[in-house]
C-alpha cells in the first residue's frame, strides 16, 4: 500500500473503493475511521434513543404498566451508558478523526493503525454492551453503576459482567485515542502553525483528550475492581468500609470531567461554525481557549458535589461548593464570547448556524440550572429529582448534541462533496428545538418527582407534565428521521458542494470535497502572521509560493492487524463462555496478531518541519509512551487511593509480617530493581552498538522479570493455602487486585521483551536504531516505580 503523490489522485491504489467491505475492515485512513465512528455512534444513538422512547411511553400516564420495573431499569441504565459513552464522545471523535488532521495540516493521525484499533475496540465494546440484553438481563442499576446495587447478590446476572467487559474495551479504545490525538496535535501541526493559531475545534479536542487521559483510568480501575468483586469474590464495594462511598469517589472522579469531555468538542464545533456564519473571528478566542483549559482543570476538583447527600464531612462539601461554583465561571466567558460573536457579526442563518445558536441557548439554561446544585441546601431537595434530569439533558443534549448535529450539517458537504437540503435542515432544527423543550422543560417543573421510578400515582399530579414530556420526546426523536433522510438522499441528489460552500476560514475548506486520501497535495505552511501558504502557490488563502512539497511521501492506509487484535480482545473478555481449547486458540491468535502488528510494514505519514512545541526534541512514539504512562499513573493512583480509603476505615488491618512475608516482598523488590538496572544497561549497550551487551542485558531483564512473577505466584499460592484468599476481606481485595494489576503489567512487559529480544538477535536496535529499547525501558521502569510503592504499603507498614 504505497502512496506516491505528484499531482494525481492515486486513491484507488492505496485504498480499495468505498463500496468495498475490505476497505472498511482494514482501513487506517483517518477520514475513513472518522466516518466509521460517525456511523457507528449514530447507530448507538438510535438504540439509546429507542430505549428513551420506551421510558417515555411508560411515564406517559400514571400507573402505567407498559414496562416491568426490571425492563424500565434496564432501559434507563443502557440508555444512559450508550448515550454518554458510546454515542456522544465517539460521535464527536468521528469529526475529530476526520477534521483534526485537515485543520492542522497533517496527512493523518500520528499512529494510524492505533487509530483503527481504537475504533474496533470501540465497536466491539458497544457490541458487548448491546449483548447484555441477550444474556438474561441487561444492567438495571443506572448508568452510574452505583454500589452496592451492582453487587452479585442484587444483580445476579451476567449482563453486568458483560457491560463491565464492554467498559474495559471501551476504555482501552479511549486510551489509544487519547494518546493518538495528543501526539497528533502536539507533534504534527503544519510548519508554522503555532498553538495560538489553531482553530477552536483542535484546541477543544486537545483539552478534551488531556482530560480523558486523566479521567478514564479512574473508571478503568473502578471497573476492574467491580469485575473482581463480581467474579473473584473480592469485597471492595460490598463491604461497609469500601462500598458506596468508595465507588462514588472513583466513579465521579471520572464522571464529572466526563461531562466536559462530552461538552468541549461541541464548544469547539460551535466555535468553528460561528465565525463562518457571522463572517467575523470568534470574539475573544484567546480567552475562550483559556476558559476551556481553566474549566478542564477545575472539573477534576468538583466530583464531590455528586455526593452531597451521602453524609460526607461537611467541610469537604463546602470545598466542593466553592469549586462547583468556580467551574461555572469559565463557561460564562465562553458563552458571552459566542453571543458577542453573533451580536457583532453578519449572521447567515443556515442550518449549521441554527443548531449552533440553539445549542448555546439550551446550554445557558442547562448551565444556570446546574449552579443551583452547587448549594448543599438546595441539592438536598433537588438531588435525585427530575430537576437534575432536566438540567443534565439541557447540557448534554441541548448543549452538546445540538452542536454536534450542527457539526454534521456543517461538515457534511466536505465529507460527501454534496450539499444537503437546506429547507429540510431548517425544518429539522425547528422540530428538534420544539421537541427538545417540550420533552425536557416540563421536567424542571417536576422537581418533586423522583427520577428512575417506573410509575407514579395519579394523585401526585405529575401526569400532565409527563404526558407533555412524552409527546415532546416523540417529536424530538422522530424529527431526527428528517436528518437521516436528508443526509442519505443528498448523497445522490444533493448539489455539488465544491471545496468551500460556506466560505469557511479553516484549513479543511482549502482542499477538495471530499478530500483526497492524502489530504493535501501541497502541504500547507503557516506564515508568522498565521496566514496559510501552499507549496504550489494555490489554495485557501493564497500567498507566495513557499513550503514543502511531498511528492515522495510513502504512506500506508491499510492494515489487517487492528481489527484482529480488537476481535481477539473482545473474545478474550468473553472467555468464560468458551471452553478451554477455544480460549487457548484465542490466546494463540492474539500472540500471532501482536507479532503481525509488530512486523507489519506500515509507514505513518511524516512531514518535515512540523510544529511540535513544546516537545520538539522528543520523537512521537516516545512521547506516546510517556503520555500512556501518565494515564497509568492515574490507574495505579486510584488503586492506591482505594487502598488508603479502605485501610483507613478497616479495623484490624494485618500488621507488617503477619500475613505478607516481608522476606518474599524484599526479594522481589531487589529482583525488580535489578531488572531496571539491566533494562537501562540494555539501552546503554544499544546506543554504544554492543550487540552482546544488548542481548545479554535484555535476557537478564527477561529472566529477572520472570523470576519476579514466579516468586509472586508462589507467594499467592502460599497465601491461598493459608486461607488468605480473594474473599479475605478488604486486605485480601486490596492486595490481590493491586499487586495482581501490577503483575499483569510485568507480564505484558515480558511479552514485549520477548519480541524485542527476537529482533535484537537478528541485529536490530543498535546505535541510532535504539529507540524501541528506550521505549520499552520507560514502561519497565514505570512498572518498577509502582512496585517501589506497593512493597512498603503492603509488606512494611
Amino acid at each position: 500500500m504505497v502512496l506516491k503523490l505528484g499531482g494525481e489522485d492515486l486513491t484507488e491504489e492505496v485504498l480499495p473503493p468505498v463500496w468495498s467491505i475490505r476497505r472498511w475492515l482494514f482501513t487506517t485512513n483517518h477520514k475513513d475511521i472518522g466516518i466509521l465512528y460517525i456511523v457507528t455512534s449514530l447507530y448507538f444513538l438510535i438504540a439509546a434513543g429507542a430505549l428513551a422512547l420506551l421510558m417515555r411511553i411508560q411515564l406517559f400516564r400514571p400507573d402505567n404498566s407498559f414496562l416491568t420495573s426490571q425492563a424500565y431499569n434496564q432501559a434507563v441504565t443502557v440508555h444512559g451508558l450508550l448515550m454518554i459513552l458510546w454515542f456522544l464522545s465517539p460521535f464527536a471523535f468521528g469529526f475529530a478523526n476526520y477534521f483534526i488532521p485537515l485543520q492542522i495540516g497533517a496527512r493523518d493521525l500520528a499512529f494510524p493503525r492505533l487509530n483503527a484499533m481504537s475504533y474496533w475496540f470501540y465497536l466491539f465494546s458497544g457490541i458487548a454492551m448491546i449483548l447484555t440484553f441477550f444474556t438474561g438481563g441487561a444492567p438495571a442499576v443506572g448508568w452510574t453503576l452505583y454500589s452496592p446495587l451492582t453487587a452479585s447478590r442484587f444483580q445476579d446476572v451476567v449482563g453486568i459482567n458483560l457491560a463491565a467487559a464492554g467498559l474495559v474495551l471501551l476504555i482501552a479504545s479511549v486510551t489509544m485515542t487519547t494518546v493518538n490525538f495528543i501526539i497528533t496535535i502536539i507533534k504534527l501541526r503544519a510548519p508554522g502553525l503555532k498553538l495560538r493559531y489553531m482553530p477552536l475545534f483542535p484546541w477543544a479536542i486537545l483539552v478534551t483528550v488531556a482530560m480523558m487521559l486523566y479521567a478514564f483510568p479512574s473508571l478503568m480501575a473502578g471497573t476492574l475492581m467491580l469485575l473482581a468483586d463480581r467474579t473473584l469474590g473480592t469485597q471492595y464495594f460490598t463491604s461497609p468500609q469500601g462500598g458506596a462511598l468508595l465507588w462514588d469517589n472513583i466513579f465521579w472522579f471520572f464522571g464529572h470531567p466526563e461531562v466536559y469531555i462530552v461538552l468541549f468538542p461541541a464548544i469547539g464545533i460551535v466555535g468553528d461554525i460561528l465565525p463562518t456564519f457571522t463572517r467575523r473571528p470568534l470574539y475573544g478566542s484567546k480567552y475562550v481557549v483559556m476558559s476551556i483549559i481553566a474549566a478542564a482543570i477545575i472539573s477534576f476538583l468538583v466530583w464531590g458535589h455528586h455526593m452531597f447527600v451521602t453524609g460526607i464531612n461537611p467541610f469537604v462539601t463546602k470545598l466542593f461548593t466553592v469549586t462547583t461554583i468556580a467551574v461555572s465561571l469559565p463557561f460564562d466567558i465562553i458563552t458571552i464570547a459566542m453571543i458577542e460573536t453573533f451580536v457583532r457579526g453578519r449572521i447567515r442563518l443556515k442550518t449549521p448556524a441554527l443548531f449552533a445558536i440553539g445549542s448555546i441557548a439550551l446550554f445557558v439554561i442547562g448551565g444556570i440550572t446546574g449552579v443551583f446544585l452547587a448549594s448543599v441546601a438546595l441539592d438536598y431537595h433537588l438531588r435525585g429529582t427530575y430537576w437534575v434530569v432536566a438540567h443534565f439533558h439541557y447540557v448534554m443534549v441541548g448543549g452538546s448534541v445540538m452542536a454536534l448535529i450542527g457539526g454534521l450539517y456543517y461538515w457534511y458537504p466536505k465529507m460527501t462533496g454534496r450539499m444537503f437540503n437546506e429547507g429540510l435542515g431548517k425544518i429539522h432544527f425547528v422540530l428538534s428545538f420544539i421537541g427538545f423543550n417540550l420533552l425536557y422543560f416540563p421536567m424542571f417543573l417536576l422537581l418533586d418527582m423522583p427520577r428512575r421510578i417506573v410509575s407514579y400515582d395519579a394523585s401526585t399530579g405529575w401526569g400532565s407534565l409527563n404526558s407533555l414530556a412524552s409527546v415532546g420526546g416523540f417529536v424530538f426523536g422522530l424529527s431526527q428521521l428528517l436528518l437521516f433522510a436528508n443526509l442519505l438522499m443528498s448523497l445522490k441528489t444533493g448539489a455539488l458542494a465544491g471545496p468551500n460552500p460556506w466560505k469557511g476560514w479553516t484549513l479543511e475548506w482549502s482542499v477538495p470535497s471530499p478530500p483526497p486520501v492524502y489530504n493535501f497535495e501541497s502541504m500547507p505552511v503557516f506564515s508568522a502572521e498565521g496566514t496559510v501558504l501552499f507549496a504550489n502557490g494555490s489554495g485557501h488563502q493564497v500567498g507566495p509560493a513557499a513550503g514543502t512539497k511531498h511528492g515522495e511521501a510513502h504512506e500506508s492506509h491499510m492494515s489487517y492487524w487492528p481489527i484482529v487484535l480488537a476481535f481477539v480482545s473482545f473474545i478474550f473478555l468473553l472467555r468464560l463462555v468458551f471452553p478451554l481449547p477455544v480460549l487457548i486458540a484465542i490466546i494463540a491468535l492474539g500472540v500471532l496478531a501482536l507479532y503481525g502488528y509488530g512486523r507489519d510494514r506500515f509507514f505513518a505519514p511524516e512531514v518535515e518541519g512540523s510544529e511540535s512545541w513544546p516537545f520538539e526534541r522528543i520523537g512521537r512514539l516516545k512521547l506516546g509512551v510517556w503520555t500512556f504512562l501518565a494515564s497509568e499513573i492515574i490507574l495505579f493512583g486510584v488503586l492506591l487511593s482505594s487502598y488508603f480509603f479502605v485501610r483507613s476505615r478497616t479495623p484490624g488491618w494485618p500488621v507488617a509480617g503477619s500475613v505478607f512475608n516481608i522476606q518474599e516482598g524484599a526479594i522481589n523488590t531487589f529482583i525488580l530493581l535489578t531488572s531496571s538496572l539491566t533494562a537501562v544497561m540494555a539501552l546503554a549497550s544499544a546506543k554504544s552498538g554492543s550487540r552482546r551487551g544488548l542481548i545479554g542485558s535484555l535476557l537478564a531483564t527477561l529472566a529477572l522479570g520472570a523470576a519476579f512473577l514466579f516468586n509472586k505466584s508462589n507467594e499467592w499460592r502460599e497465601l491461598f493455602e493459608h486461607g488468605f484468599t480473594f474473599t479475605s476481606g478488604l486486605p485480601g481485595s486490596a492486595f490481590y487486585i493491586t499487586t495482581g494489576t501490577h503483575g499483569a503489567h510485568v507480564l505484558a512487559g515480558l511479552v514485549i521483551l520477548v519480541y524485542i529480544i527476537a529482533r535484537a538477535l537478528k541485529g536490530r536496535y543498535l546505535k541510532d536504531d535504539h529507540h524501541t529499547v528506550e521505549h520499552f525501558g520507560l514502561y519497565w521502569h514505570f512498572v518498577d516505580i509502582v512496585w517501589v510503592f506497593l512493597f512498603p504499603l503492603f509488606y512494611l507498614i
Binding site: L213, Y214, S218, L245, L246, N249, F253, F300, L301, G304, M307, I312, N313, F315, V316, L319, P614, F615, R617, I618, W626, T627, L629, A630, S631, I633, I634, G637, V638, L640, S641, F644, F645, S648, R649, A656, I662, A666, T669, F670, L673, T674, S676, L677, A679, V680, M681, A684, G777, L778, H781, F782, D784, I785, V788, F789, F791, P792, L796, I797
Partner: protein, 85 residues
C-alpha cells in the same frame, strides 16, 4: 549518561530498600516509621524516573504531564480520606 551513574543509582536504590527494612524494626513511633518509609519510597521513585527514565534530560512540560497525574491521584486520595474522617 555514563554507566557509572546507572550503577550509582542502583546502589542508592538497594541502600534505600535496606534502610526501609531496617527502619521497621526500630523502636520508633508508628508515624515516624511510616513517614520515613514513604519518603524513602518516594526518593527511589524519583531516582528511577530521573536517571533510568532520563526524565531529567527531558523538557519540563513532559514532567508536568506526569506530575499532573500524580497530583490528581494525591488529591483524590486526600479528599476521599477527608470525606470520612
Amino acid at each position: 549518561m555514563g554507566v557509572q551513574v546507572y550503577f550509582a543509582v542502583f546502589g542508592a536504590l538497594i541502600g534505600a530498600t535496606i534502610a526501609e527494612l531496617l527502619i521497621i524494626g526500630q523502636p520508633l513511633a508508628a508515624a515516624v516509621i511510616v513517614g520515613s518509609i514513604i519518603i524513602l519510597a518516594g526518593m527511589k521513585a524519583v531516582l528511577i524516573a530521573l536517571f533510568y527514565q532520563h526524565l531529567k534530560d527531558e523538557p519540563r512540560p513532559l514532567a508536568s504531564l506526569l506530575l499532573a497525574g500524580l497530583v490528581l491521584a494525591v488529591i483524590l486520595t486526600t479528599i476521599s480520606f477527608l470525606q470520612v474522617h
